[in-house]
C-alpha cells in the first residue's frame, strides 16, 4: 500500500538517483579530513606493539623492566601472559607508550621474551600435507547424486579450483587514540561501528583494576573519517584495549596504530577455498548434479563451507563435503561479501568448464539454467545487458582457441547478496532560521553515507543539498548499526526519510493557517512550502520556518518501522563479464575490460554507487592477479608483510570498466545495500576469461608463474 513515507516517484525526484558530488570530497582532496591516525591530542603518547615472530609458540617468560626504564617510555602493558599460546606470527605480546614514536619503538625492542617454539602449519593448498590440522566440518546431500552422475544421458565435467587467502591491507592501519578524563573516555577509533566499540571496550575493561567505574555510557567513540575497513574493523580489538590501559596508566592520551607488517599479518584475512568439483549436465545444457570436495582456512579457527553451488542453488542432486584447515596465520575477518567471491569463483568456474565440455557458449549455459536460481529475471536482464556492453557475441570463442602467443578470452560470473537493512535512528531538527540538522550515530567509511543522508533529507524538504547539516561519526548521536554486510544504506536512508517526513509534517502544521489550508494540502518543493496544485499559494522555506517562533522541530525516524513506508529490501543480483589477454610466453595476464551490471533496488546516490562498483572491480583485478600472501612453511613466516611485495594494482593495471546500474526496474523494492554485491563476481569473471583464453584452469591469484605452470601441465606451453 502506498505510504507518505515512500520515496517520491521517479518523475518527482530532483536529487535521488542523480549524479551528486560527495560531501566529504573537499576535505579529503585537500588533506584536511582528520582520521584516527591523524589525531594529535595535547600531551599524547605514541604506542607500539611487540608481536610474535613465530607462527606458533608458547611464552616462557616476558621481561619488560628494561623497556620501562627506556628513555621516554611512560607505560607498558602485557597483551599475552606467560604460558600463553601464540597461534600466528604477529600475535600481540605487549605494548609500549612513549613520548615519541621513535622512543616507543626503542621500548618495544627492549622487551625480552623467551619462547617455546611449537610446530606450525601455514600452507593449506595441498590437503595431503595438512595432517591433523584438517577436520571434516560439513557434509550435505540432496537428491540422489550417485544415480544422477551415473546416468547415461549426462556429460560430466570435473575440475580443481583454488583461490588463496588475501589480506585486507587497509591503508589506515587498525588502531585508536584513547583519552581518559576520570572514568570518562574518548576513543578516536578507526572503525566501521561507532555504536559498538565503546560497549566492547567497557566490557573488556570490566573487572580490570582501575576501571571499576567504567560503563559503556562513559565511553564516547568518534570516527569522522576512516581509512578503509572492508569488513575488518568492527571490534575494539586487543590493541584498542591496550591503548585504553596505557592511557589510563600514563594519565595521557595514547595513539596506537598498527605498523604495516602487523596490519598485514593479523588485522585482516579473507579465507581461502579449494575444491574438486564435478558437474553433470544433459546435452542440452541442463545441470542435473553437483559434487564437491572442498577445504579452506580462516586461520586458527579453520574455514567454513562456502555457499556452493552458488546462485544456482536448486541443482536437484548435490553432494558436498568440506574440510576446515586450521593454519597458524592471522585470523579471518569479514571481507566484502564474506565467502561469496570464493563461492562465485568455484561455482561459475566449474560451470564455465562444464559449458566448454558441452561445446556450449557459457552465456547460453548460464541462461539455460536460470531456473535453478532465486532471481532468474534479474540475472537474465543483467546477462543480456552485460553481453551487449561487452560485445560478447563477437568476442567469445571456444576455450583455448586462437593463434599466436598472446591469447584473448572472455568470461562471465554472477553474484548475489542479502543486505538486509540494519536498525537505525535519525534525528532531524528544523530551526526557526530555516537551517536543518541531521544527527545519526552512523559512520561514513568513504562509501558516501554522508552524501546519501543529505540527499534523502534534502529531497524530502525540497531543499538544496547544502541546506542539510549532517552530523555523524559520534556515538552520542541516535544509534545506527555497524557498517557491514551492505546493511547501512537501506537502514539509514529509511530512518532519514521517516524523520524528515515527520519533521516536515510538523512544519506544515505550523504554516497551514498562514496559507489558509489544512496541513495535508501542503508540499515542499524548490525551497518553498506551497499548496499542492496551486503553486501561487506559497512561502519560502525560510519564511515557513520563521513561523516556528522560538521553538525547533525535532523528530526521530526509525528503521525498522511498521506502517511507515516501503523503503528498503534485501537480495540483489549482479552479472560481470571480463575480457583478458594472456601472454603465453611470460604468463602475464592483462585485464582489458570489465562490464559490471548491478541491481541494488532504488539508487539514492548514483555517483558514489558507481564508485562502489568501480572499486569492487578494481579490488578484484588486484586479488585475481597480484595479491598473494607468501608463507614459508619452514619458518612459519609471511615473507611479504609489506606493500612492496604484497602487491596491490596500480593505476596502470586498471582495465576499461563499464558500470551499468539497473535503475528503474526494481525501484519499487526500495533501497538495498551495494557494498558487497559488486565485490562478488569479478574475480570469477576474470578467471573464466583466462580459461577461455588459454583453455586451462589457473588458481587465483593468477600470477605469471601459475599461468605458465598451468599451461605446461595442460600441454599448452
Amino acid at each position: 500500500m502506498p505510504s507518505k513515507y515512500d520515496y517520491p516517484p521517479a518523475d518527482k525526484r530532483s536529487l535521488i538517483g542523480k549524479r551528486i558530488t560527495r560531501l566529504d570530497g573537499p576535505v579529503k582532496a585537500t588533506g584536511q579530513a582528520k582520521y584516527s591516525y591523524d589525531m594529535n591530542r595535547p600531551g599524547m603518547l605514541i604506542a607500539k606493539m611487540l608481536s610474535s615472530p613465530y607462527a606458533h609458540a608458547k611464552i616462557k617468560s616476558i621481561d619488560t623492566s628494561e623497556a620501562e626504564r627506556s628513555p621516554g617510555v611512560k607505560a607498558v602493558v602485557l597483551m599475552s601472559k606467560v604460558d600463553g599460546e601464540l597461534l600466528w606470527e604477529g600475535s600481540e605480546i605487549a605494548a609500549v607508550a612513549a613520548e615519541t614514536e621513535e622512543q616507543a619503538t626503542d621500548g618495544v625492542r627492549k622487551i625480552k621474551v623467551e619462547y617455546d617454539v611449537l610446530p606450525h602449519l601455514v600452507k593449506e593448498e595441498d590437503l595431503s600435507k595438512v595432517g591433523a590440522n584438517g577436520k571434516p566440518s560439513a557434509e550435505q546431500t540432496a537428491g540422489n547424486p550417485t544415480q544422477a552422475f551415473a546416468a547415461s544421458d549426462v556429460v560430466v565435467s570435473e575440475g580443481y579450483y583454488g583461490i588463496d587467502t588475501i589480506t585486507h591491507c587497509c591503508l589506515e592501519s587498525h588502531g585508536n587514540v584513547v583519552e581518559w578524563e576520570g572514568d570518562n573516555c574518548t576513543v578516536y577509533a578507526s572503525t566501521q561501528a561507532v555504536g559498538r566499540v565503546g560497549g566492547d571496550l567497557a566490557k573488556a575493561l570490566a573487572g580490570e583494576a582501575g576501571f571499576s567505574g567504567v560503563q559503556p555510557a562513559n565511553i564516547r567513540v568518534l570516527t569522522q573519517h576512516m581509512g578503509g575497513g572492508f569488513g575488518s574493523k568492527f571490534s575494539i580489538d586487543t590493541w584498542g584495549i591496550a591503548a585504553a590501559k596505557l592511557s589510563k596508566k600514563a594519565g595521557k592520551p595514547v595513539k596506537l596504530m598498527l605498523d604495516r607488517d602487523q596490519e598485514l599479518l593479523m588485522a585482516g584475512m579473507r579465507p581461502s577455498d579449494y575444491a574438486k568439483i564435478k558437474i553433470a549436465a544433459k546435452q542440452d545444457g541442463t545441470i542435473v548434479a553437483w559434487d564437491s570436495e572442498s577445504w579452506s582456512t580462516g586461520g586458527a579457527t579453520g574455514g567454513t563451507l562456502p555457499p556452493i553451488p552458488y546462485v544456482f542453488t536448486e541443482i536437484p542432486n548435490r553432494r558436498l563435503r568440506h574440510v576446515a584447515v586450521m593454519t597458524n596465520t592471522g585470523p579471518a575477518r569479514a571481507w566484502r561479501a564474506p565467502n561469496h567471491p570464493q563461492a562465485s569463483f568455484l561455482t561459475c568456474g566449474a560451470m564455465t568448464d562444464t559449458a566448454a565440455k558441452l561445446n556450449m557458449d557459457p552465456l547460453q549455459f548460464f541462461l539455460k539454467n536460470l531456473n535453478l536460481t532465486a532471481r532468474g529475471d534479474v540475472y537474465k536482464l543483467e546477462l543480456e545487458k552485460g553481453a551487449e556492453l561487452m560485445d560478447w557475441k563477437s568476442k567469445y570463442h571456444p576455450a583455448g582457441q586462437g593463434s599466436g602467443t598472446i591469447k584473448t578470452g572472455v568470461g562471465l560470473a554472477v553474484g548475489t547478496w542479502g543486505g538486509r537493512p540494519h536498525d537505525s535512528e535519525c534525528r532531524i531538527t528544523i530551526h526557526p532560521d530555516g537551517t536543518v540538522l541531521l544527527e545519526m550515530g552512523t559512520q561514513d567509511l568513504g562509501v558516501g553515507t554522508r552524501t546519501v543522508l543529505a540527499i534523502v533529507a534534502a529531497e524530502t524538504f525540497g531543499l538544496p543539498l547544502n541546506a542539510i547539516e549532517v552530523r555523524i561519526g559520534d556515538s552520542k548521536y541516535p544509534p545506527s548499526g555497524a557498517s557491514g554486510g551492505s546493511t547501512t544504506v537501506g537502514g539509514v536512508s529509511a530512518s532519514t526519510r521517516r524523520a524528515s517526513i515527520k519533521a516536515l509534517d510538523k512544519l506544515f502544521e505550523a504554516v497551514a493557517p498562514t496559507l489558509s489550508v489544512t496541513a495535508d494540502k501542503l508540499t515542499a518543493v524548490d525551497g518553498r512550502v506551497q499548496v499542492a496544485g496551486d503553486a501561487t499559494k506559497n512561502m519560502t522555506w525560510k519564511a515557513a520556518c520563521a513561523k516556528l517562533g522560538t521553538s525547533n522541530i525535532s523528530e526521530v525516524g526509525k528503521q525498522p518501522a511498521r506502517d511507515e513506508g516501503n523503503l528498503n529490501d534485501s537480495g540483489v543480483g549482479g552479472a560481470h563479464m571480463a575480457e583478458v589477454e594472456v601472454d603465453t610466453e611470460t604468463g602475464i595476464v592483462t585485464v582489458k575490460k570489465v562490464v559490471a551490471v548491478q541491481d541494488c533496488g532504488l539508487v539514492i546516490s548514483l555517483k558514489t554507487a558507481e564508485s562502489q562498483v568501480y572499486g569492487a572491480v578494481i579490488q578484484a583485478v588486484c586479488n585475481s592477479l597480484y595479491e598473494e600472501r607468501i608463507f614459508d612453511q619452514q619458518t612459519g613466516r609471511m615473507l611479504n608483510a609489506d606493500m612492496e611485495f604484497y602487491k596491490l594494482s596500480g593505476i596502470g593495471d586498471i582495465p576499461d570498466i563499464v558500470v551499468h546500474m539497473v535503475q528503474g526496474t526494481y525501484d519499487s523494492r526500495g533501497v538495498i545495500g551495494l557494498g558487497e554485491p559488486p565485490a562478488v563476481p569479478p574475480t570469477a569473471a576474470i578467471a573464466n576469461a583466462v580459461h577461455n583464453a588459454i583453455g586451462v584452469r589457473v588458481s587465483v591469484p593468477m600470477t605469471p608463474a601459475r599461468v605458465l605452470a598451468a599451461l605446461a601441465k595442460g600441454g599448452r606451453a
Binding site: T21, R22, D24, G25, P26, V27, K28, A29, T30, G31, Q32, A33, K34, Y35, Y37, D38, N40, I46, T100, E101, E102, C169, C170, L171, E172, S173, H225, M226, G227, G228, G229, F230, D259, R260, L445, G446, V447, K607, T608, E610, S611, Y614, G615, A616, V617, I618, Q619, C622, D642, M643, E644, L648, S649, G650, I651, G652, I654, I657
Partner: protein, 215 residues
C-alpha cells in the same frame, strides 16, 4: 650522523641519508659496515669539517610551505614523522612506511618524494611543499577540485598523496596523455579502487591548469 650547515642546499639526493639510499648502500656493499664506511663514517675522519650529530635530539630547521619551522628531533626522524607528529601537518599519511604506496608524498625542491623514506635533517634548506600549502576546501587547487568532481576518493586515505603527486606531475607535464598519467602516478597505491576517477581527474586538472575549459 652528520649535517651540513643549516640553510645551505644539501648534497644531491643520492649522497644523502634517506633510508632508501642507505639500504642501497648496504646492498651494493654487501654489508652494513662497508656501506657505512663509504657514506657516513669516512667523512668526519677525512677532515672535511662535517659535523657528527645525534643520536639525541638536534635542532632541525624545515622550510615548509614557505615558512621555517624549528624542531628538536633525533636525526633518525623521517620528514613524514616530523611533520605529522611534531607539526600536526597530517595531510600526508603514513601507510607502507617503505616508499611503495605514495600516501606520504610531499614536493621537495619541485619534485615528488616519499617523505616516509626521507630524513627530516636531510630536508633542511630545501623547499618542502605539503598538501596543506597549496589547496584548501575553501580555495581548492585545480587538482583537488577535479578529484572531488570525478569522485576520485572513497576512504580518502591515499587521496592527499595522489593529489600532491598529481600536482608535482602536472607542474612538469602540462599536457599528459592517459598513458603518461598511468606512468606518472604509478608510484601511488589505492586500496578502495578509485583509479578510474583519479585518471580522469588528472586529465581534467591538466586541462584546467592550461587554462582550457572542461569538456
Amino acid at each position: 650522523m652528520e649535517s651540513d650547515n643549516q640553510g645551505k642546499p644539501s648534497q644531491p639526493a643520492k649522497k644523502g641519508f634517506s633510508r632508501r639510499s642507505f639500504l642501497q648502500g648496504v646492498g651494493i656493499g654487501g654489508g652494513a659496515a662497508v656501506g657505512l664506511s663509504n657514506e657516513l663514517l669516512a667523512a668526519p675522519q677525512s677532515g672535511s669539517g662535517a659535523r657528527v650529530v645525534g643520536p639525541g635530539p638536534v635542532r632541525v630547521a624545515l622550510k615548509i610551505n614557505g615558512r621555517v619551522h624549528n624542531l628538536e628531533i633525533e636525526p633518525r626522524v623521517t620528514l613524514l614523522d616530523a611533520l605529522r607528529n611534531r607539526l600536526d601537518l597530517t595531510g600526508a599519511k603514513k601507510v607502507c612506511d617503505r616508499a611503495t604506496c605514495g600516501a606520504c608524498t610531499m614536493i621537495v625542491n619541485g619534485r615528488a618524494v616519499y617523505s616516509c623514506t626521507t630524513l627530516a635533517i636531510e630536508a633542511q634548506g630545501k623547499d618542502i611543499q605539503t598538501i596543506e600549502g597549496f589547496t584548501t576546501p575553501a580555495k581548492m587547487h585545480a587538482v583537488s577540485a577535479a578529484f572531488v568532481e570525478n569522485d576520485a576518493q572513497q576512504c580518502g586515505f591515499c587521496t592527499p598523496g595522489f593529489v600532491v603527486a598529481a600536482k608535482a606531475f602536472l607542474d612538469r607535464h602540462a599536457n599528459p596523455t592517459m598513458a603518461d598519467v598511468n606512468r606518472g602516478l604509478g608510484g601511488n597505491l589505492c586500496r578502495c579502487g578509485t583509479y578510474i576517477g583519479v585518471r580522469q581527474a588528472v586529465l581534467d586538472a591538466a586541462r584546467e591548469m592550461r587554462g582550457g575549459r572542461r569538456a
